[in-house]
């Protein structure tokens, strides 16, 4: 039987770390992820796990030490947020190109500036091209479940890529929710004993890692790395199926909420999906408008074909970005989803909104406005409000 608990998102991740008992965790504190290494340090101090905790002087060192430990043959993890991950930037690429199965607990927080400690996705979205697998969560339960699944995904021979397990800062990281924990022995069985094939401390095998690769080798190396990301797709789904067998909780590349007959859809990432679901229920119970939601779980690799297929029956879709990328056009999710629709020769009307930057609230009422806009767009075939901000103060009377 699962263990019923109530935990914050940070507590849930720390608890999963305790259950996995990784070999090494170098970490440096940064809001709102600080609690994760703090709880892990407690577990270690209490003798509950034997993880080697490395106190480092910065996040640059945290990721460097995690890479070193992983290359040496250890199951290595770390946790960070926002500017902390920005300081890891160079190492994020190194971890991925060295094909190290590191797991990073990322608590999403806006990047400076202006300095801000609240949730948005600018940190992980900025890192979307680093070669890491990215898995996002709506709730504490999901971040716990995703964290456990991250190890078999990262460590699978077809993948060997680092995984970033993301949750929204404060909203889930500090919000306490009911949660179903998996028993220790089941978690241990699920992730298995880490047995790398090639590693630097191998007593019999000579190996060098991370050599200089001139232009005669770089492109082939990157293509091989892409192949791992392509293969990650099947491994993510296989791992989810195995997790469902163990817990009954179903995961995929994304969750479809009331999409069976949906005419108007929102595509979103993270905790705001819960608010959107509440709006959908209200809309369907009042006006009867067929509203639905696609909540992205896996952003890297990007499930291009699957999303286009899931949106094939809708009249209009709003793609909601919780980070800017200053293309002066779309946000990152907007660009990806619209590219997927274009590749599928879809003629669905698509609009891209920004919301929740730096922790700005988004409400049920905001989502109702979004679905109202989608109905208008579907009727008029005039996409109004492209790239607009939801909940923005403006001199214009109507922003959304």
């Amino acid at each position: 039987m699962a263990i019923r608990e109530r935990l914050s998102g940070n507590e849930a991740v720390a608890y999963a770390i305790k259950q996995v008992n990784p070999d090494v965790m170098p970490a440096f504190p940064i809001t709102p992820s600080t609690e994760i290494p703090q709880y892990v340090a407690n577990y270690i101090a209490n003798g509950e796990i034997d993880t080697e905790f490395i106190h480092v002087e910065s996040e640059h060192s945290a990721m460097s030490a995690t890479i070193g430990a992983s290359a040496a043959g250890a199951r290595a993890i770390t946790a960070t947020s926002s500017c902390g991950m920005a300081l890891m930037w160079e190492e994020l690429y190194v971890a991925a190109s060295n094909r190290l199965p590191i797991v990073l607990a990322l608590v999403n927080r806006a990047l400076s500036g202006p300095i801000n400690i609240n949730a948005d996705h600018s940190d992980s979205m900025g890192a979307r091209d680093t070669g890491w697998i990215q898995i996002y969560a709506e709730s504490n339960q999901e971040v716990y479940d995703n964290f456990i699944q991250a190890f078999p995904i990262a460590e699978d021979k077809r993948v060997h890529l680092p995984v970033m397990v993301c949750q929204d800062g404060f909203i889930t990281s500090h919000g306490v929710e009911n949660i179903l924990l998996v028993e220790d022995d089941k978690v241990k069985g699920f992730v298995g004993e880490y047995q790398p094939e090639h590693y630097l401390l191998h007593p019999e095998e000579k190996m060098a890692l991370g050599p200089y690769a001139v232009s005669n080798y770089y492109m082939e190396t990157k293509r091989a790395q892409r192949q791992a990301m392509i293969q990650a797709r099947e491994v993510i789904l296989e791992t989810a199926a195995r997790f469902e067998e163990m817990t009954g909780r179903k995961y995929g590349f994304f969750e479809e909420y009331r999409m069976e007959d949906a005419e108007y859809a929102v595509v979103i990432i993270g905790s705001a999906a819960g608010t959107c679901k509440a709006a959908i229920d209200e809309i369907r119970n009042t006006t009867g408008t067929k509203a639905g939601l696609i909540k992205i779980r896996v952003f890297r690799p990007f499930p291009e074909d699957e999303i286009a297929k899931a949106l094939s029956g809708v009249k209009a879709v709003a793609i909601m970005d919780r980070s800017e990328m200053f293309s002066a056009t779309s946000g990152p999710l907007g660009a990806e989803v619209r590219a997927a629709l274009y590749q599928a020769h879809s003629s669905v009307e698509a609009v891209n909104y920004f919301y929740g930057l730096g922790g700005r609230d988004i409400t049920v009422s905001d989502f109702k406005t979004v679905y109202g806009n989608l109905e208008t767009i579907a009727q008029t075939h005039v996409v109004t409000g492209m790239y607009e901000y939801i909940g923005l103060r403006s001199e214009q009377s109507k922003e959304v």
């Binding site: 190290l100 060997h160 090639h198 060098a208 890692l209 050599p211 190396t221 192949q227």
Partner: protein, 102 residues
């Protein structure tokens, strides 16, 4: 094969499928096989007649390209000498000259 080198297996003609995962190299001391001497734009020339075998040149060579056997220096290792000219500067007897080019 005992004498097989890493570049016999992976080289500039290898397709991407043959590149090892993360560019891992399953061999030690492979820098010997990387002929950095190709980078040279000036070449030291050893005048054996003037050389007194004082061995001041050997320890200053940044690329360990002046081999010594039984207390005597030998010909330059041109596979790895980058032509920096420190040996020529340090030689008290003018036994090392620098020639332009490889």
């Amino acid at each position: 094969m005992a004498n097989e080198k890493i570049y016999d297996r992976i080289n500039e003609q290898s397709p991407w499928q043959d590149i090892t995962e993360g560019n891992k190299i399953f061999e030690a001391a492979t820098s010997k096989d990387f002929c950095t001497g190709e980078w040279r734009t000036a070449t030291p020339v050893w005048d054996k007649g003037k050389c007194k075998q004082c061995l001041l040149c050997t320890p200053v060579c940044p690329d360990s390209s002046i081999p010594v056997t039984a207390g005597k220096r030998e010909e330059f290792d041109y596979d790895h000498c980058k032509g920096c000219g420190i040996c020529a500067k340090v030689c008290p007897f003018g036994a090392i000259g620098m020639r332009e080019g490889k």
